[in-house]
């Protein structure tokens, strides 16, 4: 128990957060690369064809993990936003702002792959159904959080609190995306696989396995990429502090 409490407190302070998570980068990157390679090769070449869509369904191995990540990362941004706003924790600010571009990227990938699949399958690249529109709003929310932060350059801590407020307000969009295909009629199909309902829509383990592997791979990539960005964020905003000088000199091998 004591160790968990100690770990929690260490993760809350920028110097020890930097020191500890520095060692996570390489394993996370390797796991992400390895699992992505396995998931994509298995999914794109070896998974069986779909009975209706043939090979076109294979976009699922990119589209669905990216869509999950776009919402997962936003949820993390929202939680960090609340911590930033209420407790003013610097590490939460760093994690929040570091996550924004990664989440926006996953959202863009979701929209693009969905459009590429939509043209041959539905017969249109885009239509304003509830799922697509709410996902597009998610992209704008990411841009909004980043924009809010960038708009207040003089004081990065105040900028982070303002960005946090935008992020918290945007949280309301997450359940709308999730349930859009159930609350309203839409062209987008309902979920094939959910956290609580199992994977009833995907009837073959050979199809499900690469999908789950890709879901894991994107999580590891996110942790790697987010930590790298969070480190930069902390080094930049804490540039005048003693620990930064030590950390930087240790990295470059020079004496402070």
């Amino acid at each position: 128990m004591n160790r968990i409490v100690k770990f929690y407190h260490e993760m809350g302070s920028p110097p020890s957060f930097y020191r500890i998570t520095q060692h996570w980068l390489m394993p996370m990157l390797l796991l992400a690369l390895g699992l992505t390679a396995y998931g994509l090769i298995e999914g794109l070449f070896f998974a069986p064809k779909d009975y209706q869509q043939g090979d076109s369904y294979r976009i699922i191995f990119v589209h669905v993990p990216a869509a999950w990540m776009s919402m997962f990362i936003y949820a993390i941004i929202g939680i960090c936003g609340i911590i930033t706003f209420v407790w003013r924790m610097k590490v939460a600010e760093a994690v929040m702002m570091a996550s924004v571009p990664i989440g926006a990227l996953f959202t863009a990938v979701t929209l693009l792959t969905g459009m590429l699949w939509g043209k041959p399958m539905w017969g249109t690249y885009w239509d304003w159904d509830a799922r697509m529109t709410s996902q597009l709003i998610l992209l704008f929310l990411y841009i909004g959080v980043a924009g809010m932060y960038a708009a207040y350059e003089e004081d990065p801590r105040k900028a982070a609190r303002l960005a946090a407020l935008v992020a918290i307000i945007g949280l309301v969009n997450l359940p709308i995306i999730r349930y859009s295909v159930y609350w309203w009629t839409s062209i987008h199909q309902t979920s094939s696989i959910t956290l609580t309902g199992g994977s009833e829509g995907i009837h073959s383990w050979d199809m499900l396995r690469p999908l789950l592997v890709m879901a894991l791979a994107t999580k590891f990539y996110y942790i790697y990429s987010m930590l790298t960005r969070a480190h930069t964020y902390l080094l930049k905003t804490e540039a005048k502090k003693q620990w930064v000088a030590q950390a930087v000199s240790k990295k470059s091998g020079a004496k402070p």
Binding site: Y51, F85, W122, G123, D129, I169, L171, V172, T185, I187
Partner: protein, 156 residues
């Protein structure tokens, strides 16, 4: 928790609550507009805009599709298993268009009984499976219904 933090937390909760309520009211008010398509039941109840395009969605009825010779025109019936609407379309149908599958058509009603579609979109369901599994499921379903008939005959 210190009083300032408590105040901030309450503020955040109030903001979240306020935004949620506002969005919920907005979505309820615009429910009809967010609905992507009208069902055949709604069309049968005359609940559609006249002289203006709208979307009609449902299942393509099994065995209802026919091609009109010497043209690109097709006719089929869209059903929600309660009501049916006859649809006419001229053009190329999407890959996933099949009888017994979901479809969304965009067009106008003509004479109350024919929907003239300008665009046809296929709607896919959430099921993914290899062809062999689909065949096996189909066979199992047939067997089950045969078994059901058998039971029924036995009890008669």
């Amino acid at each position: 928790m210190t009083p300032t933090r408590k105040k901030r937390l309450i503020l955040v909760l109030m903001v979240a609550l306020g935004v949620s309520v506002a969005v919920a009211i907005f979505l309820t008010a615009f429910r009809d507009n967010i609905m992507f398509f009208k069902s055949p039941t709604e069309v049968a109840a005359q609940d559609y805009p006249e002289n203006r395009n709208f979307r009609l969605g449902g299942m393509v009825k099994d065995g209802s599709m026919s091609r009109i010779p010497n043209s690109l025109k097709v006719q089929f019936v869209v059903t929600d298993f309660a009501e049916e609407v006859k649809v006419e379309f001229e053009g190329i149908l999407p890959d996933l268009f099949r009888e017994g599958q979901g479809v969304v058509t965009i067009g106008k009603m003509r004479n109350d009984d024919l929907f003239v579609a300008e665009e046809v979109l296929a709607k896919h369901d959430e099921n993914y499976m290899p062809p062999e599994v689909a065949d096996a499921l189909e066979a199992a379903k047939k067997q089950q219904s045969n078994y059901g008939n058998y039971k029924q005959e036995e009890s008669e």
